[in-house]
Symmetry: C2
């Protein structure tokens, strides 16, 4: 925590450092770079045993909230590779590019709008005097070839966003699910962008996961649904425990809007590297369905049963980055807490619903392993459980604090006679003595209330 | 059902036809071809509102059974694109190919080992006399370029199987999760193969989902763990309700084994198109870890604490196709049942745990919509619920039978006075009168027992 004058204006002052979060993630099995043993591959990340549970919990909450919990939203899981015409209609083939420059001296390649991050030029004695080429457009879609030829006719793309398939499947979903306006279609899935400079850990990567909703309505209701979904999504992030002071809505200025967009707002989180978008809410008008109608020759209009008006519905989109949201959860939860005894503990104050491990079961001594393992096996039928019998109990508590495990159950020598165990709560470190046969109900009560 | 002599030897005689299953899947929103409005893209499929629930239920059951429910298996979610050296070490760059031939007359391209399926040659008046070129090897990995160049150095591959990243991350997972042999690492994710002739609906496609476990053990325990996992996986498919008579284990003959494999067995299901593999269980020896050690220069050995023996662990793999397993579930569940009144109903006898919709709520008349919707909203907090108020009640029941919904709740005129509803069970069509405020417990009891 820098105490100098500059820090006053820096909103990230006092926040934990990214280095500490990145290091925790790799060391404890949340997230690390893909293909580490081969030196890594830039912009690709693997989620380890704890990371995959965190991510799956987040996705399940989103799915329950946006899809299963509503009767006006249908789920979808479309293929990553779609017909290449999709990306002509969407405008990606023509427009989805970044301006790119090369340094003639050191060969470094950068986005023309991010030259401040280029660092010194090694070919020029470490001065910052790069010799940049003029900017040229570089398409960000990852290309592949489907079928046995490698030519233009076989070229396909890894989707750059999950939403396009929702537009392609609009009619099929509406008819098979017998939905009427207003209604939405939502999906979670991988998308790919050939970012020139991936950075900020998992924040800007080349392979990432999106959770997108496209909500279709009549144009007369666009403002109403835009406000509804912006509010819904903001509430979701609040309920995930993201701190009030680190969450804000930034409406787009008119000059920032895509040419087809009517309104847009970013939900931003204050990361250690500054305010950054974790979710976008967009009023896309009828652009998407109209374009796919034109390019496919298929009728994607709706006819109003009463007025007989035929129209392409208006689309309100909510698009959240699952990786960004996971990173926000971790950055939000990470704390180094000074304890009364002068020691410091690192902990993740993750909300119960997303914590990767719900319960750790710890026998006080190895000779108590058997009954402790029985408890762990029983609880494992319902929750993600970690069993740990090695090291002193204080260190084992610390290890669980550091990965955000909300409850530690200690089986000690008294447990043998009184059939009770100690349940220690992560945040308050308070301990309670609970009967073994009441454990499931006790935990269920705590964990269900948290949802 | 063909009653002729040939049918006696045809194990698929009497099974529902694929056409009926494919048609149901598209019409009711389980699965349809990707990019339909652009004429489709061969070998790619989209899961609709019901399909995504079925698939997610299946994945959740696998995850609970293989990962969360055990203390000796860790989960993982690695990137689809890994460092390209991965696929050199694994042997895919060199060997992962099919023999391919072209017809010089009609230009048709086929796998040399599937020429029986080629059909007539349109360039030769529909005779079957194709003019095939000699077979050449065609690599099945989908290729892309990462970074701003399209050259050899930038070439990467979409993974052809999810297991390779497990080997890459073996050391990191073991250390971060503090596991000791024997233990496993498991993941679910997309993989891609550029199949020359995708076919049999979702059975052989170009983009598909795998659920793979790599279980690491000392070589002295290889047989034991191979048997354990073969038994475990077979039990899983049985518990999913796949009929005894349609499930079998086919051990590989010695001449079928990969050069590094010690033992292998396929779990096969009797589809309408014949016996086909849905899962493979393989003893891969130490091939994978040894190869990645060699290619990366990183030490992936384990040292036995007692004997001080240093070795690459032996790997037992279980690899199930999620799409194939979904298709088996659908094919297994589909029935056309003759009713006492002479009518026929189509139904999916899906096990409760995988049924995409658990409960349908149906008001007997539109004027009863409001209380029925209240019930639906309440139940939707816990399960996937469908609400339907249009059409006569018999037709609404049939619609739910056809998609495998286990329970239909009818709110009728008596419900207003006696606060009870009728619960109709899919398979038996029996009806029971249940108090509205006991509904949740009633359903929870039925649905939990089914897990």
């Amino acid at each position: 925590m820098a105490a100098d004058a500059e820090a006053v204006d820096d909103p990230t002052a006092g926040l934990p450092r990214m280095d500490d979060i990145v290091s925790l993630c790799a060391r404890r099995g949340f997230i690390w770079q893909s293909s580490e043993i081969y030196g890594g591959i830039n912009g690709f990340w693997d989620y380890g045993p704890l990371g995959v549970e965190l991510k799956n919990n987040l996705k399940a909450l989103w799915w329950q909230r946006v899809v299963r919990g509503r009767d006006d939203v249908e789920g979808l899981d479309s293929s990553i590779i779609a017909h290449p015409r999709t990306w002509e209609a969407s405008g990606h083939v023509e427009h989805f590019s970044d301006p790119l420059v090369d340094c003639r001296a050191c060969k470094k390649r950068m986005r023309a709008d991010q030259l401040d991050d280029a660092g010194p030029c090694p070919a020029r004695q470490g001065t910052s005097e790069h010799d940049w080429t003029p900017a040229r457009n570089f398409n960000l879609m990852l290309k592949t070839f489907v079928g046995a030829q490698e030519d233009a006719a076989a070229t396909a793309f890894l989707r750059a966003e999950t939403c396009q398939s929702i537009f392609l499947d609009f009619k099929r979903v509406r008819e098979s699910a017998r939905q009427r306006l207003p209604f939405g279609i939502a999906q979670i899935g991988k998308a790919f962008r050939n970012e020139i400079n991936p950075r900020n850990f998992t924040f800007r990567s080349r392979e990432f996961e999106q959770a997108e909703l496209e909500f279709f309505c009549h144009i007369s209701e666009r403002e109403k649904w835009f406000e509804h979904w912006l509010g819904e999504r903001l509430a979701f992030h609040h309920e995930l425990g993201l701190k009030e002071t680190r969450l804000r809505v930034r409406p787009h200025r008119p000059d920032e809007l895509a040419h087809y967009a009517h309104a847009a707002a970013d939900i931003e989180f204050l990361f250690p590297f500054g305010w950054q978008e974790i979710e976008g809410v967009h009023d896309r008008g009828d652009w998407d369905l109209r374009r796919h109608s034109e390019f496919s020759g298929k009728d994607l209009t709706i006819t109003d049963e009463e007025t007989k008006e035929r129209f392409h519905p208006c689309v309100i989109e909510t698009s959240v980055g699952i990786d960004r949201s996971c990173l926000a959860l971790l950055a939000n939860a990470y704390e180094e807490e000074k304890l009364p005894d002068g020691e410091t503990r690192a902990l993740l104050r993750l909300p119960l619903a997303v914590a990767p491990v719900k319960v750790a079961v710890l026998p006080l001594a190895k000779k108590l392993a058997e009954p402790a393992q029985r408890i762990a096996s029983e609880l494992r039928r319902h929750w993600s459980v970690f069993y740990d019998e090695s090291g002193n109990i204080g260190r084992r508590y610390r290890r669980q604090d550091e990965v955000g495990t909300p409850f530690c159950i200690t089986y000690d020598f008294d447990s043998e006679s009184d059939a009770r165990v100690t349940v220690r709560e992560r945040d308050s470190m308070t301990q309670e003595r609970i009967p073994v046969d009441g454990l499931r109900a006790y935990l269920q009560d705590r964990l269900e209330t948290a949802r």
